[in-house]
Amino acid sequence: MKMTGAQILCESLVREGVEVIFGILGGAVLPLYDALPNYPQLRHILVRHEQGAAHAADGYARATGRVGVCMATSGPGATNLVTGIANAYLDSSPIIAITGQVARPFIGKDAFQEIDITGITLPVTKHNYLVHSADSLAGIVKEAFYLARTGRPGPVLIDVPRDVQIEQAEFHYPTKVDLPGYKPTLQGHPEQIKKAANLINEAHRSLIIAGRGIIISGAYDELKQLAETAQIPVVSTLLGISSFPESHALSYGMIGMHGMAYANLAVDAADLIIAVGMRFDDRATAKVSAFAPHAHIIHIDIDPAEIGKNVRVDVPIVGDVKAVLNALNKLLVSTERVDWVQQLDDWRKEHPSTEIRDSDGLLPQYVVRQIYEATKGEAIIVTGVGQNQMWAAQHYWYNKPNSLISSGGLGTMGFGLPASIGVKVGCPDSIVWCIDGDGSFQMTIQELATIAQEQVAVKVAIINNGYLGMVRQWQELFYGKRYVATALSCPDFVKIAEGYRIPGLRVKHKREVTSAIERAMEHQGPFIIDFKVEPEENVYPMVPPGAALAEVVEAPEKRKKAISDSAKLPVSNI
């Protein structure tokens, strides 16, 4: 049957099981939008800025494990998507970005709203396409979805000229893709797995570093089995949080620049690191030359290019994390590692990194903890970037799989609010809290309109410290407290919310926190709380830039117990 390009695209999206598209239209996608109403399966959510569309698609993808879709017109619509696409790229999130393009005869002529979006997004997409004819469209959509969700997931962009959307072609949805240059390795090499098992069976102080690859691959049970069988403590990267229940006796929290002191000390003292689905980002490793100095490293990842990129690896295993762990678990002998686990517990007692100090003031950490208490840990937390993000990572306990959605690789302020729209739309039965910074929030604040229009029931906690707080912290600690351009004069967020017809509350005192959170939860729709927190509170523990993980610094009031150089570490006697 003959169809227009626009119809072919919509039909193809339906075949891929798409249920929602986040987007904004414009001249170059008008034919496409004109076809949309004939496909009621495809819910369109009108955002207020294309960056929001990409973040929403990204949030949807991370929360559901399905491919998220965003759409924009040519030129500025397409360029507005770029930050969101880059964000998805760095965190391996599967999204499809569909952009309109000027009609084929105008391409290359600098026509109105023509931009080379495939050129611009080349380094931030897993792959991208400029569609040259309507009859190639179905095949391209099929490939794009396949590429986005398989192997190491990532964003794929499809640029569709306006006249291709109108052109008629025969519609056949292909059943297979033919990509000779793309064959992800799923099964780990048996020899390598055997080597890894031998190392694990022999090590005394092994440690698992869990990354987002576990979440992507759904390897929660396999990870738990690995940890429990061999009694191996588990720490995680920022994006690995919620791959392993934090209430588990073998869970020791996040590593890295703002990781738990005991987790960082464990990395430093370990004799074997089992890095699973993570990529040794510098925020996680700190000074890379001093990373895990005593350890052999087993690295399991689906992307061969990650192996050996940042750290030397003794046993690389390329493959899907779930498949590899499954095979690995069969070769493990159950072991007790009482001394090592005891050592970690001692460190945790000596360095209670998640302890919140006593204060009459309104502490951001306390706000996060109360959200945990009120939601009983059942919520999905979406964060902004900065201090708010680190406190959300540190002071909420993630026991539910895949319950932290955060911008890790790109660290994109403004991610929180639109991403939480995607999360809530994808998981309507989950409680979704967006813990945001006052600065981050204002970068995509216009998505409050989307939330109001679509009645997306997200709860927003603004950690309002009146500062670009994380940058202020660096100015305080490393630039002689010279605060340059970090103070924010914020609008009245409750009034702003009210303007969008979203109810809100302002909280200035500790005693009001719990009741405000409860009010927000009782309310059926979206709700905003503006928490006026201590303006100059800092995030600790902290590994100063350039320092090694073992040089982790505790909050000043905890310093008396802190270890500031690795020489003091009891490495030799364990």
């Binding site: 050129g119 380094p123 240059g181 390329v318």
Partner: protein, 181 residues
């Protein structure tokens, strides 16, 4: 230690594939010494020979990144293999009746060809490895060189096997690489 590496890539004949590869080198801070592209023995596939300077570890990282480009079917670093490597150069040299015969003699020694003769110059075509072309150039320099164009290296592994036969890239190469460790 940084040395010259020869990479051979089999790529799909699609618009933008050269751009994707070049962009990757730029992004990872690599200078391409030379790149030569043309059709391969397979329809829809081109073969590229890329010469880059870098340590083995750095080049291996780039090779793996290139391998991730969807349109790239296979990339190998054939530096350590037994290879045939050739380059073609066209060299336009100043020549007059006094120097022409001497130039012809040099050209003969190098088994090069004169492909064009004009009143004030001759154009020489030479094929060989970089060393041969460089030595010819140094001998011709004295006559005055007007213009040089070089194709960059094209290379192939000696012997019976063809890389396109081992197309099932990922699993085999990774398995092999992992085993080598």
């Amino acid at each position: 230690m940084a040395t010259k590496h020869t990479l051979v890539a089999l790529v799909e004949n699609k618009p933008g594939v050269l751009n994707r590869m070049a962009s990757l080198f730029r992004r990872r801070g690599f200078n391409i010494e030379s790149i030569a592209v043309g059709h391969s023995e397979l329809p829809h596939l081109s073969r590229m020979t890329i010469v880059v300077d870098g340590t083995t570890a750095m080049v291996e990282q780039v090779r793996k990144q290139l391998d991730k480009v969807i349109d790239v079917v296979k990339v190998s670093d054939i530096t350590g293999d037994n290879i045939v490597a050739r380059e073609l150069a066209l060299i336009k040299v100043k020549a007059n009746s006094a120097t022409r015969s001497e130039i012809i003699q040099i050209v003969d020694i190098f088994r090069a060809n004169i492909v064009d003769v004009a009143s004030g110059s001759v154009t020489i075509e030479v094929t060989g490895d970089e060393d041969k072309i460089n030595s010819l150039l140094s001998l011709l320099r004295g006559f005055g060189i007007r213009e040089i164009v070089r194709t960059g290296r094209v290379a192939m592994v000696r012997g019976g096997s063809s890389p396109s036969r081992m197309e099932k890239k990922s699993s085999n190469t990774h398995a092999k690489r992992q085993k080598d460790k």
